[in-house]
Assembly symmetry: C2
Homo-oligomer: 355 residues x 2
C-alpha cells in the first residue's frame, strides 16, 4: 500500500534517492564493493563529500561569498554546543521560539552570558516574537528558523550588525531566503536532506577566530574546515544520501522550484483547516510554518473517527508532539502534493461523516 509519510523527522525522502542509496549499499560506483565498506579516504568517497559540500553552497546561492559547508556528526544538538564554543566570548543573544531554541540556550549558558531577547513561551510557543532588539555588543544572535513541534516559522529575519546564527534543521532548502545574511547556518540532515547522522554546517569563515578559549579539536569549526570536513571518519552513508537528495533538488530546479511545491502543499492543508469547522490551527496565522502544520480537532469526540480515516488512507506520522497534542502534518520537500491532497480528503471525509 502506498504510504503518505507525514513523519516529523526522520522523514520522507525522494523515492529515487532511496533506490540509489539501497543499490550503493550493495555495489557503489560499480566497484563491486559496498559504499559502507570502502575507505573514506578513497577517491570515490572524497568525490561524494566534495560534491555534497559544493551542492549545498550552490543551492543556497552562496558561491563566491566566503562560505564553506561541512558535514559533521552529532546533529543540531552538538551544534548547540559548538556555536558558543567557537563564537561566544562575552555575551550572546538568543531568540526563544520553542523546545530547540531552549535547548540551544541551555548549552550556550555553560560557556558564557546569554541574553534571551524575546520568548513566546507565554503562549506555548504558538507565535514568533517580533519587535525585539538585539544588543549591539552581542557576539552573535541565534534563532531557530522553523519550530517543528509548534509549527511556527520565522518569515522575516532581523536586521543586525552582529553575526546571525540560525538553526535551520527543519526548513533548510525549502524556501528562498537571502542566505548571505547569515554568518552560520546549521541543520541536522534528517528533514530536507537525508538520513539522521550528519549535520550540515555552512560558515562564513570570517566570523571565526574571535574567541580566546582553547577549543577541543572535534568542536572546532576551523579544524573541520582545514580538513575539508574529513578531520575524522565522516558518517559516510548519511553524507552520500544527503548528496543524492541535494542533486535531486538541483535537478528539480533548486529552492525556487521546491518552494512553489511547498507553498501549494501548505495552502491546501491550511485552507482546509480554516474552512473545515471540525479543525482549528495551533500556530498564529502569520507565523504558520510551511513545513509543519499543527492543528487540533474542535471536538475531541471525533478523534477515533478521524484517526481511523487517515490511517486507512495510508497516512503515517500524523500524531502531534506531546507538548502540543492534536495533529502535526510535516510536509518536507520530498512529500508529494498528492499526499497533501490525501490528507485534505480525509479531513473532508470526516466532515461528511460527522458534520
Amino acid at each position: 500500500m502506498k504510504k503518505h509519510n507525514f513523519s516529523a523527522g526522520p522523514c520522507v525522502l525522494p523515492q529515487e534517492v532511496l533506490k540509489k542509496a539501497s543499490e550503493a549499499v550493495i555495489n557503489f560506483n560499480g566497484l563491486d564493493l559496498s559504499l559502507i565498506e570502502i575507505s573514506h579516504r578513497s577517491k570515490d568517497f572524497i568525490d561524494v563529500m566534495e560534491n555534497a559540500r559544493s551542492l549545498a553552497i550552490e543551492l543556497l546561492g552562496l558561491e563566491g561569498k566566503g562560505y564553506k559547508a561541512l558535514f559533521l556528526q552529532g546533529g543540531a544538538s552538538l551544534e548547540f554546543l559548538m556555536v558558543p564554543y567557537n563564537l561566544l566570548e562575552k555575551k550572546a543573544a538568543y531568540l526563544n521560539t520553542g523546545t530547540w531554541s531552549s535547548k540551544a540556550i541551555k548549552e550556550a549558558k555553560v560557556l558564557g552570558e546569554v541574553v534571551e531577547v524575546a520568548s513566546s513561551k507565554d503562549a506555548n510557543f504558538n507565535y514568533i516574537p517580533k519587535g525585539y532588539s538585539i544588543p549591539a555588543d552581542a557576539d552573535y544572535f541565534h534563532c531557530t528558523s522553523n519550530n517543528t513541534i509548534f509549527g511556527t516559522q520565522i518569515k522575516d529575519f532581523p536586521e543586525t550588525n552582529v553575526p546571525l546564527v540560525c538553526d535551520m534543521s527543519s526548513d533548510i532548502f525549502s524556501r528562498q531566503l537571502d542566505f548571505s545574511k547569515f554568518g552560520l547556518i546549521y541543520a541536522g540532515a534528517q528533514k530536507n536532506m537525508g538520513p539522521a547522522g550528519t549535520t550540515l554546517v555552512v560558515i562564513k569563515e570570517d566570523i571565526l577566530g574571535k574567541v580566546s578559549r582553547s577549543i577541543p579539536s572535534m568542536l572546532d569549526y576551523k579544524v573541520h574546515l582545514d580538513k575539508d570536513s574529513m578531520f575524522n571518519t565522516p558518517a559516510v552513508f548519511a553524507v552520500y544520501v544527503s548528496m543524492l537528495t541535494l542533486q535531486w533538488l538541483k535537478d528539480l530546479g533548486g529552492i525556487a522550484a521546491i518552494e512553489k511545491i511547498n507553498e501549494e502543499k501548505a495552502s491546501l492543508v491550511y485552507n482546509e483547516i480554516d474552512r473545515n469547522p471540525l479543525f482549528k490551527g495551533f500556530a498564529a496565522t502569520e507565523d504558520r510554518s510551511s513545513m509543519n502544520v499543527t492543528f487540533n480537532l474542535t471536538d475531541e469526540a471525533h478523534k477515533e473517527a478521524f484517526d481511523a480515516l487517515w490511517k486507512g488512507a495510508g497516512i503515517n506520522g500524523l500524531n502531534g508532539h506531546r507538548s502540543v497534542g492534536g495533529y502535526r502534518a510535516s510536509m518536507y520537500n520530498a512529500l508529494s502534493v498528492e499526499s497533501a491532497k490525501v490528507l485534505v480528503e480525509t479531513m473532508q471525509e470526516l466532515e461528511k461523516k460527522v458534520g
Copy 2:
C-alpha cells in the same frame, strides 16, 4: 569480480548484513517505508536500538555486571574528548602506542593533567611498551587496544586499581578478553561492527559522577544513559547495521567463534611473511595485531610486480598508511579465511616470479 577487501576502515562487512541493510533502505520491517524515513521514536526503531545495546553487552559477557551500552555519534575522536570531560578531575594516565593514543592525549590535555606512562614513539610505534607503572592517584588509565596504522595490539592489559579506559575501535568483538576489567570501552563502528557514523560506548556506571565540572549535555555520558541512548536523534542507519552485524556474530557463535577464524587468518599471513624472503613484518613479533598486518617488501624493486599481482587477484585496500609505508592487510571479523589465502597466494606467486 569477487573482491577481497583488506581496507583499514571503513571496511568489509558480512554480505548478508549488507543485503538486509540494502533492503531496509527501501522497505523496513514490512512497513512500506524506508528505515531512514521513519521516526526514531517509533517502536520499530526503538527495538533496533535496544537490541543493538543488549547484543553488545551480551557478546562482551557483561550482562548483570553493572554495564550499559550507548550508540553515540562523533567516532572515537569525540570520545577522546568525552572521556576526560566525564572522568578527568585532576590527573589522567595515558599509554601512547601511536597516532590514535596521541590524539586522545592531546584532547585530554585541554581539560587537565596528563601523565604519559610510556610511549613507543622512539621506534615509530612498532611495539607495545611494557613494565610501566600507573600512578595510584590517577583518575583513570587510558590505552588503545589495537593500533591500525602500526599493526600492534595489546595482549596483556595492566592490573591497576584505577578505572581502565580503552579505545577498542579496531579490535572490539574480535578476541576474548575479560571485558569486566574495563571501566569504559569505546569503539567507532566502522571496523568490526558497522558503517561509519556511530560509536559504541560501554560504561560501568559506577565510574561516573566523580568530576566537579559542568558537562555540556551532548558530552555527558549520564545524559545519554538516562535517555537510553536517544537523547537526540541517533544515527539510525549506522545503529541498524551495527545491530545486524552483532546479530550475525552471535549467530556465528560469538567472540569465541570469530576469534578462532581471526587467529587462522593472522597465522596464514604472518607465517607467510616470516617464511617468504621477499617480505618482512613491521611490528615487533610479540605485539603483532591479529587485525592489521603491517609488512614491507625486503626489496622495493619488486613493488610494481607485487602491486600488479594483488590488484589482479581482486584485493582491495592493501596499501600501507603513509606513517609506515609498505602494506597493511586489515583482516577484520567479516574478512573470510579465503581472502587471507588469496593474499598469501599472491605473496607466493611473487616469490615464484622473482625468487
